[in-house]
Symmetry: C2
Amino acid sequence: MTRSTDTSWAEHALETLQAAGHRRGGARTAVVEALAGHDCAVTALDLDDELRRRRPPVGRASVYRALEQLEQLGLVQRIEVCRGTAGYERVDPAGHHHHHAICRDCGRMVPFENSSLERAIHEVSEGMSFEVTEHDVVLRGTCERCAN
Amino acid sequence: MTRSTDTSWAEHALETLQAAGHRRGGARTAVVEALAGHDCAVTALDLDDELRRRRPPVGRASVYRALEQLEQLGLVQRIEVCRGTAGYERVDPAGHHHHHAICRDCGRMVPFENSSLERAIHEVSEGMSFEVTEHDVVLRGTCERCAN
DNA sequence: GAGCATAATGAGAATGAATCTAGTTTGTGT
DNA sequence: ACACAAACTAGATTCATTCTCATTATGCTC
Ligand SMILES: [Zn+2]
Ligand SMILES: [Zn+2]
Ligand SMILES: [Zn+2]
Ligand SMILES: [Zn+2]
């Protein structure tokens, strides 16, 4: 199972959209399918490039609109991938997820996951006046390639 | 000690700048002093508003330039405060710091700190091919005021 | 299947944070 | 005081993101 396209996520996403009262539309479906093909964060403009070529082409506004709706429904997570640009990545319905280390020099992004970190975050969230529904962790530094 | 202006941080910052080979200049000093007056993150444009009125006025470019230099030297930390805008806050030279919970509805930002979270992050950083020099944690959700 | 209300779409304009440019001023060593 | 580089300001520019609005497609009812 090395296929990078997560069909089950795509199905889940489309169902959730429908359940939320959305009609089905070609552009949004295309965005969902494109997201399903990426294991880690993609920028909106990357998706736009990817989808503009399709026939019929998907408009930029539709990409952003779809991403916003998906984020609202908790189907994708938005993270700041580099100064002033956001990356979007699909959210596993079971809650399984990773975080990122980002190289300050080359922008390379390496995902990681760690259960004691998740536990600590969960505990902090409990003891907060906020009702925390989401969290994000970013490590910044120099990747091995840029360190030499 | 309820004074919000942290004089010691300002002094430390100005010394570090000088040690890094920077001349002293009015605009940058003004930015340092303004930052010293804020306990938590401020946006560059807020600082700009605050400093534009001075005589002589500080230019927007100088604000951004100073913030970038300060960040480079580890004297301020940059965090995404809301969609597409960065906030900057001073970094305690002793390493003491906090993270933030941000309300999705009203944008309110509540700082918190937690040692087991820091410990977990430290451990993850150790086991990484990256050389991690900085980390950021953001909790998102609904604040008590917006929850009612 | 035709007709309707309304959601979805896409081209392009508008926004706004951040960066760049050019020309001027200021700081520092001699 | 002089020279030279760093620092400065105003304004133009870039670029991701959002908005507008005319057009098309969808789901529903008859
Ligand atoms: Zn990822
Ligand atoms: Zn996590
Ligand atoms: Zn803070
Ligand atoms: Zn921390």
